[in-house]
Symmetry: C2
Subunit: 402 residues, 2 copies
């Protein structure tokens, strides 16, 4: 008898598991007076609170259905809406069998990995990429190969050699993960030419492409590139999008679209994972969309975030020294900064002391790198704080440089 030998009991994955780097920043961010450029949070000041609350009429009107267990693949009216609403971007209205509602895009990623990844299988990811994706994929046993990005997105020309060398080494390559629009964290958007090339390469090597597009609707300059999904003729592109950035992350409602056989496997996994996404949350989102609020809210949020993007660009111009390198993103949530000679993990702790938070670069590299980089989010902080946070960041840089 006695205490549990817990370390022995934990699974291999759980034993080696590291926290999601951004989730673990929450205690820092919540310190009084802290200005957060860290998490990719939408601005709560622009949440469509009244419109969303108004949609709770569906709870009274349709309570018998909404309070009951729902189908694992999602609340049918919401699936209908998404299929219609996304048709211009997807190139067609996808079938119900090709569409799965998920508890946030994070779950779509997790289910896709459960369906495709055996421990030790490889995923090609961008360098840098979204840390939440690395966390989820690693927890499902994935290993990584990384492709660098420039301002036009991932360097597709490097893929063939990488794929061939991985296959020659006997590695099972399961898919290429790419955030095509306003990449998290780099801010870049994959050019049309590279999209074409990526699909050609994927077809030649018969490999799946996972197109993650949480920011695609949030473009502040220029015109939209076609989705990989719409350009694909083989059924090899899995496309994920979410209401988190264009409505409210607290709903935890997102969706994933792809080949019906893959979606079907994901549905089977989801049956054991959470049975179905909150029907209550899905119904509220569905009603919100049907009332036309999503369409009327989008231009408002785009104007709002464009102003904030400009605010951070101005603040950086004013406060950041000339040797800090960055591009101004054309959409999305983030600036990606390179500060030659500065270790941004060290900088992070100095910045916290000065009262500003960001995410340091190492978090975004699946196989190491990013020591001199950092990501700042411009959507969450309020206008004055964009200036003051940048001033603090400068002070932290000055205190960190060798």
């Amino acid at each position: 008898m006695g205490l549990l030998k817990l370390e022995v009991l934990f699974s291999n994955t759980a034993r080696g598991m590291k926290p999601s780097p951004i989730r673990e920043l929450l205690p820092y961010i919540k310190r009084p007076g802290m200005i957060s450029f860290a998490g990719g949070n939408p601005d709560p000041m622009i949440f469509p609170i009244d419109e969303f609350a108004e949609c709770s009429d569906i709870l009274a009107q349709n309570g018998k259905e909404v309070l009951q267990y729902g189908p694992t693949d999602g609340y049918a009216p919401l699936k209908d809406f998404i299929s219609r609403w996304m048709a211009p971007r997807m190139g067609r209205a996808v079938e119900p069998s090709e569409l799965l509602i998920t508890t946030g895009s994070q779950q779509g990623m997790d289910l896709l990995c459960a369906a495709l990844i055996n421990p030790g299988d490889y995923i090609i990811v961008e360098d840098p990429t979204y840390p939440g994706a690395i966390h989820t994929m690693r927890n499902r046993g994935a290993e990584f190969l990384t492709v660098p990005c420039d301002k036009d997105g991932l360097l597709v020309d490097l893929l063939p050699k990488m794929i061939e060398s991985a296959r020659n080494s006997g590695h099972a390559l399961k898919f290429i993960y790419t955030i095509v629009n306003f990449q998290n964290p780099a801010g870049s958007t994959l050019s049309t030419e590279r999209r074409k090339k990526l699909l050609e390469i994927a077809a030649f090597y018969d490999i799946i492409v996972f197109e993650d597009d949480p920011y695609g609707h949030l473009r502040y300059d220029g015109t939209d590139e076609p989705t990989l999904f719409s350009m694909d003729t083989d059924g090899r592109v899995i496309y994920a999008c979410s209401f988190s950035k264009i409505l409210a992350p607290g709903a935890r409602v997102a969706w994933i679209t792809g080949h019906k056989d893959i979606i079907r496997k994901m549905v089977l996994v989801k049956q054991g994972v959470d049975m179905c996404t909150s029907v209550v949350a899905q119904a509220l989102v569905s009603r919100y969309c049907e009332k036309g609020y999503l369409d009327s809210f989008l231009p408002k949020i785009i104007a709002h975030y464009k102003k904030k993007r400009d605010g951070m660009a101005e603040a950086f111009k004013k406060y950041l020294p000339g040797y800090v390198e960055y591009d101004i993103p054309k959409g999305g949530f983030f600036f990606w900064l390179k500060i030659p000679g500065v270790d941004t993990e060290k900088l992070f702790h100095n910045a916290i002391d000065k009262g500003v938070a960001f995410v340091h670069g190492r978090s975004f590299y699946a196989c190491g790198g990013g020591e001199n980089c950092l990501r700042t989010c411009f959507t969450f902080a309020q206008e004055d704080d964009l200036l003051e946070g940048s001033r603090r960041l400068r002070a932290a840089i000055d205190g960190t440089r060798p």
Copy 2:
């Protein structure tokens, strides 16, 4: 170039994955005129629709928090409520670090398996047990050892030999899974004496006990047994409960309580799985509880389901032939029937033709068995349908017997 060789791409788990047996019954159940004794669904006629809808005031009042990402371990006011409300059952108010809000109890199970199970590890489950648990655990790579149950729950005396023999064979045994109250499907409740013995055995062999208790609040006769959690002095009991059966499964809000180191690992997994349970759903449930509706609804739902339990008992007495064996459950959702000589999978198809659905026995056995058994749920069907469904079931039995 060409089509994807999908079967090659799927993970080993996905390739062998079977659908959750109950979820897959939905198409049958939805046939017009079908009376369903199949799924474990609450009665939508008694959902507290007006009270729940009234709680949507929290969306307007607290929208900035409720629409934003929430902490992975759960919405703090809901955690506070659960800790206070459950204290009499748990023996104490559990700490926030010991409590995790999950997207349904199904997710609690999945996260626990992710934290503890390596492929090939063993879990001891009851024979019969909840098919959703088998599905989830199998998807995480678990193998099973099964302990039979009688009317006082699992036969704890069989455990020591089973544990020793498993360990002698070099199997890693990770935990014992038990539905202690109004077991799904058997309807039995573990006696206090056996609870004591189970904990002694678990302590002696240093093994974790996962106490799943979705039906514990729904007792129609007799008095409550103490929870295993409240009797445990070692921190080895993980306890799961849910709002699905006592409020509304469509919310997908449940909770799991246990040793803080295990909960912490589960939080890390959840970061990558869905980031957090729908804050919108949690906030609605939280407000509902705080307004006292949970406490005022419970006696109502208990009286309602007791009447339905009695209704099914009467109907079975009237229609089922003497050789059909069953006990009348003291709580929960289910009757468990044994029909000697009748293959209940065959019976199922005949019953569907007659217009009544149930779940056949094989679904509840992790390692085979249950050919002559079936589960009927009495909470979902309406009063007249309890009679008519039983009449149809009798007709199906008559048409199936050799």
